[in-house]
């Protein structure tokens, strides 16, 4: 193979000898610069600065922007120098992003030297750093540990929710009620494994907030999202699949609705009912749809952002006086 520079054509050629002839591929200088830039760009490490992330709508949009950035590039370093706290939703979401990048052949490094001592303690305690391969064993505190579930082992997930979430003594709760709550949250995991087609499974993390009197837990998957699942179903039954993302979430909460061709469609309805009875709050983001379920009712909207998977954020009230399950 020869590489030849043609001044007349202002081009660089690659000439490959064949048995009886020679083939020549000619590229202009501009094209070569573009090739080289793409090559460097795809292999260079991009630093993403993680800000402080809470669990308001604007915080979820920050997470979705990070996810969006990660769709086109391969190699990342996460820098935490501008971050003093990450809520459970951010921890679960970042864990999922990292897992996805790695399974797609990319690489992610955590700039652990940029972690503040408080943030490091938080990420150590909930097991996130250990899960990312950092030598920082988790310890017991106010966290519900970061967790990755690649397959539907409901017995393990059930134990996690019972022992690490409700069994920590953060709330004085009737054991029967605790089991009822666990059953409801398991419905979310069941929905992911049944509908989401998530190659990497489910990512979870939670946190006890004593001053807020709340316990929060986030479950996220990077599958096809609720809107796509519903549009596929509509297409398969011969209906027009053009339905806005917020309406698809509304359908997902409609009793009896299921995208599976058999009996189903109870999971989200039961969870909604429970959250409303207990004056908690449930947020679901999927594609550009956002569902908010709380004691005042249910609200669906379109947000100015996009995330292909589904993230569920649950806040339950620690106040035993309002924490009653009505049958």
């Amino acid at each position: 193979m020869e590489i030849i520079f043609h001044t007349r054509h202002n081009a660089i050629c690659i000439r490959s000898p064949r048995r009886n002839s020679t083939s020549e591929s000619r590229f202009t200088i501009g094209t070569w610069i573009l090739f080289i830039w793409i090559k460097i760009e795809s292999h260079s490490v991009h630093t993403i600065y993680i800000p402080r992330i809470n669990d308001e709508k604007s915080d979820f949009i920050i997470l979705f922007n990070i996810w969006s950035r990660c769709q086109t590039l391969q190699n990342f370093a996460l820098n935490f120098s501008k971050c003093d706290f990450l809520r459970q939703n951010a921890v679960a979401f970042l864990g999922g992003i990292i897992s996805n990048i790695k399974s797609n052949g990319g690489s992610v490094s955590l700039n652990t030297h940029t972690l503040s001592s408080a943030l490091r303690a938080n990420l150590e305690q909930n097991g996130f750093l250990a899960a990312m391969g950092v030598d920082a064993p988790p310890w017991d505190g106010n966290s519900i540990p970061y967790r990755e579930d690649q397959s539907p082992d409901y017995h393990k997930i059930s134990r996690y929710l019972q022992e690490k979430w409700l069994g920590k003594g953060w709330i004085f709760i009737d054991p029967e009620l605790a089991k009822a709550i666990v059953s409801n949250v398991l419905e979310i995991y069941s929905n992911v494994f049944t509908h989401a087609q998530s190659a990497n499974g489910v990512f979870s993390c939670g946190q006890n907030y004593p001053t807020l009197e709340e316990i929060k837990i986030t479950v996220v998957d990077f599958g096809i999202g609720i809107p796509q699942s519903i549009r596929d179903y509509l297409y398969n039954i011969g209906q027009d699949p053009k339905i806005p993302d917020d309406k698809t979430l509304q359908l997902a909460f409609q009793e009896g609705f299921s995208t599976k061709p058999d009996l189903g469609g109870m999971g989200l309805k039961l969870l909604k009912e429970f959250i409303q009875l207990n004056q908690g709050r449930l947020d679901i983001y999927s594609h550009s749809g956002h569902a908010i379920i709380d004691a005042s009712g249910e609200h669906y909207e379109i947000i100015n952002s996009f995330f292909r998977g589904t993230i569920v954020n649950i806040s339950i009230n620690r106040d035993q006086k309002v924490y009653i399950l009505k049958h």
Binding site: P152, Y154, H155, S158, Q162, E176, L177, K179, A180, V182, S183, L186, E187, S190, T194, L234, I237, Q239, D240, P241, K242, I243, P244, K247, L251, Q254, E255, G256, F257, D262, L263, G264, G265, M266, G267, K269, L270, L325, H327
Partner: protein
């Protein structure tokens, strides 16, 4: 004929999955369809989720009517939350299998929403 089926030896303490539900369904469906009485004993089961009940109980409504199911199938040892999910699943299944208009109505909502765009 009477059948008493303890659920814990089959599913363990969690009645969550479709697979566990299917095991129960296979054991009780043939009995109830023959008109035999079946009692499911949930003593010792702690966690319940709708995929289990949809499969174990809900799909009985496919070829049995609610009168047959209610008179031949009995439940004991069920926690109040388990009972709550079971009740909702049975209501849903009854609508799903016995009233095709229920399912059609969901599809009509979809069609209307698509037209509204």
């Amino acid at each position: 004929m009477y059948m008493m089926l303890k659920v814990v030896p089959i599913t363990g303490q969690n009645c969550i999955t479709v697979e566990d539900g299917e095991q129960i369904y296979k054991k009780i469906h043939s009995e109830i369809i023959k008109g035999h009485d079946v009692t499911l004993d949930f003593t010792g089961v702690e966690i319940f989720a709708s995929p289990f009940f949809n499969t174990a109980i809900g799909q009985l409504f496919r070829d049995l009517n609610s009168t047959q199911i209610n008179s031949n199938l009995h439940f004991i040892g069920l926690s109040s939350h388990g009972n709550h999910i079971l009740k909702r699943v049975m209501e849903n299944a009854q609508k799903y299998y016995k009233n095709s208009r229920f399912r059609d109505s969901v599809e009509r909502v979809l069609a209307q929403q698509a037209l509204d765009l």
